[in-house]
Homo-oligomer: 275 residues x 2
């Protein structure tokens, strides 16, 4: 967003944990909360058919026509909020949104324990996806380019695969989490006939793809973004996933520009900003 690939202007920030200081329903005041980022109309065809994250009139926190959370205060409808269990420190709770996005994969497709699953890309989202997919017992490999990423994968007891080691045409499910055409190409080659390619990142501009081979191999491509918050909170409460390993640094809000610089450095995954 900072680089301008999407025409948003306003306050950035959509992953947060905060405290309610004002609300029509006073019982919320003082509660520690996380919040879903899509603010929806409840009336359009998507909302009425159980797809509120696809609301045709939505604003999105820090992304589409709605100021985000790098600020002293932010606003969301109460229906967007989820209470954070007391046992969950802020450093965990702040990961609810991206962890929910990782879990969206399993809202969309079934990962079977015997599946061979490849995650291409081990950045912020790739790491969370690897942690959640590992819980299925599936035969999981993670393609991690950078040493720090590889270390994090291995520290969870998971297996790293180099790009050269990827066997083509072999993986039941491949998750593309790099956001680059190279990553897509790797993922496409890895997936087996009738396998599923989950696309978890967005791409700048258009991408040139051989669709004939996708038809011939009967590949299933699934676009995937925002996911369910409550399961994310549950998995952190039970400590079955631990996103805090991604935290590289923390800054106060008045040093937020430094936080952005730090976040842009190679090998840095998550940087927290505290108000």
């Amino acid at each position: 967003l900072v680089k301008g690939y999407y025409p948003y202007t306003g306050i950035l920030g959509h992953e947060f944990v905060g405290e309610v200081v004002e609300a029509q329903d006073a019982s919320w005041i003082g509660r520690r909360v996380v919040g879903e980022i899509n603010v929806v109309c409840h009336r359009c065809e998507q909302c009425r058919n159980g797809r509120p994250t696809h609301c045709e009139n939505r604003t999105v926190l820090g992304i589409v026509r709605r100021d985000g959370t790098f600020a002293e205060y932010t606003q969301l409808p109460l229906t967007n909020l989820h209470r954070v269990p007391d046992s969950l420190p802020d450093e965990l709770a702040v990961f609810t949104e991206p962890l929910a996005a990782a879990l969206e994969i399993q809202q969309q497709i079934q990962i079977k324990p015997a599946d061979r699953v490849l995650v291409v890309g081990a950045g912020r989202l790739g790491q969370l996806i690897a942690q959640t997919l590992a819980l299925t017992g599936c035969d999981l490999r993670v393609v991690a380019r950078h040493v720090r990423q590889q270390e994090l994968v291995r520290a969870r007891g998971l297996k790293v695969l180099s790009e050269e080691e990827i066997q083509p045409w072999r993986w039941d499910v491949v998750v593309e989490a790099t956001g680059s055409p190279d990553g897509f190409s790797l993922a496409r080659q890895a997936v087996r006939p009738r396998g599923t390619l989950v696309m978890k990142s967005t791409y700048q501009g258009e991408m040139s793809v051989n669709f004939s081979s996708i038809v011939v191999d009967e590949i299933n491509i699934v676009g995937s973004r925002c996911g369910p918050f409550e399961p994310a909170l549950r998995l952190m409460e039970s400590r079955q996933v631990d996103p805090t390993v991604l935290i590289s640094d923390e800054f106060k809000l008045d040093e937020a520009l430094k936080a952005f610089e730090r976040a842009a450095q190679p090998g840095v995954l998550k940087v927290l900003v505290e108000i």
Copy 2:
């Protein structure tokens, strides 16, 4: 294939009905048969995992390293053959292969009776797809460009939609059966968030696609080709589908070049060649 988009040289033809004149198991001799076009190894990973049409060592009748059926005689393993019921005339049985390809859609995804389904393209395969999808009771529309195609759709009691009438972001399932980037673009715009886009035709070269929007809308893209023969035979035996309406002309084998010319004329759908 005649235009050379795929590097095949050899005898063309992969949709046929014929009589067995020679076989190791003599009980097949004299039988009227249709045949699956993929000749497979039964040993590779795909075959062993129940995906023989994706055999890594396959030859394909009239398409990949195997002479096809525009000939007095052709050869296939007995395991590829299906007996044609006596009640099924040759003019129906010859459609088993493309009708099976149409049915592959329902092998891959569930079409619900209340689904809104759009078929983009009403050529040979689009017509068969429309006939089979209509059997589900779904709310079906067919985008047919040419008058003859529109007539055929309406003659089945089905509804035609013009390109201008397609509501964007509305259809639960959209089947792309044009094989053109324009058709893909139409289909992509029509499918609703979290809807399914079935790709039923191949494309020349690469196609440029906005994958970010596919991620944001969480679209499911499913490549689809060869399908099950027995259901195709059953649906024709019970006359629940009638592919014979597609037949524009018939030629003898020694006039096969004329048959190709005729098949290339606008509005002509199927041309049969009789040995």
